[in-house]
Symmetry: C2
Subunit: 194 residues, 2 copies
DNA sequence: CTCGTTCAGTACCGATCGGTACAGAACTAG
DNA sequence: CTAGTTCTGTACCGATCGGTACTGAACGAG
């Protein structure tokens, strides 16, 4: 097994730089020249390391979920209520932070032209996965008696995700974290259980 | 005053066709060739009639607001609660309708590349205008005793808009009108007053 | 050292992007 | 009729799009 010349940059570190560009500009708003400039590598190096623009975006979405610590923290909470609250409060911090407003899974590829349909579908699939995970967490809460038996876990998960995405859009409109915090206060008042 | 050759197409009717393209594909996902093909006019005709792509998108946003009858209907409601409920239920119908999923003001230009910053800003400004109008409606409701004096009209407007935009994103994820209806049931439970 | 492999950057590919010059056609005013 | 104006489509503009051949350079194995 021969190894060849070693790569002169760190894959994950440059991926983070690509993440920031996609975050600010969305998938279709980002040109390869934007990426290579921000990542500090040449175009063929990008293709050799990550595939192509579409594959790079997929890896960026993976990286995005890995680094979204508030999501992991939310699922570690003991109750359904604190799971939802941690998720939404953390989303406020993430969407109004310094990496640019909004949430990559929401505005990264909400609507796309003909060529980029697969990217839009993948972003939607990840949103579905998040909603499914939340629904399963709420179903567990119901089994544990943490949530009343008459609440529908799927409906509740859809509502929490709806607030999540609403926060992301409001952040893109320039809403501040205090304003959004009061909106989450309102949203959590309808959450069942203690 | 001389008049010259008359235009061979109806401005508003072709604007509706452009609206449907932008709705499906967003601003940056839409190419001029997509527009001219759907509108059935040549490229110079488009520029003479509407300016350029950016100006056309602005006129499309105007047209979009004009044709959003559920918004006008909402503001004609007698109470703050029915205003919010009409707006959100109507949004469900509009975002899951046949013109493609989602809301043009949300996904039309949420995140854009360097050139299209003005378009993103304009979409955000229209969202702000909608929130302001809702806040003023709620302030009026408070003066009329329709809303309790201790509720903040701005916070409530922001929350309703947040749900509005959340519906739009969920619709882009493929959520159905029944699912979203139950989410609005939950969202309205936290609305103050009767 | 040589050889095979993998990375690096330059320079380029066809296609498409948004936008326009231009010439002819269709109209009104006189 | 002519003159002036405005719309029409063809054909084209430079710039940029995503993606790739190709030539060296930097490594480990032998």
């Amino acid at each position: 097994m021969t190894t060849g010349r070693p790569r002169a940059f760190d894959l994950d570190e440059r991926l983070d730089r690509a993440l920031r560009v996609f975050w600010r500009q969305g998938y279709e708003g980002t040109a390869l020249s934007d990426l290579t400039e921000a990542m500090g590598i040449s175009r063929p190096s990008l293709y050799a390391a990550y595939g192509n623009k579409e594959a790079l975006f997929g890896k960026v979405l993976d990286r995005y979920m890995e680094t979204a610590v508030h999501v992991r923290e939310a699922f570690r909470q003991p109750t359904a209520r604190s799971t939802a609250e941690t998720l939404l409060r953390g989303t406020i911090a993430a969407t109004t932070g310094e990496d640019g407003p909004g949430c990559l899974m929401v505005h990264g590829a909400l609507a796309t032209g003909g060529q980029s349909g697969a990217v839009r579908a993948e972003a939607a699939a990840r949103r579905h996965a998040a909603e499914d995970a939340l629904r399963e967490r709420f179903e567990r809460a119901r089994r544990e008696g943490d949530l009343p038996a008459d609440v529908d876990a799927g409906d509740l998960a859809r509502y929490v995700c709806l607030v999540w995405y609403g926060i992301a859009v409001q952040a893109c409109s320039g809403a501040g974290s205090e304003d959004l915090g009061r909106a989450v206060d309102l949203a959590m008042r309808t959450f069942p259980g203690g």
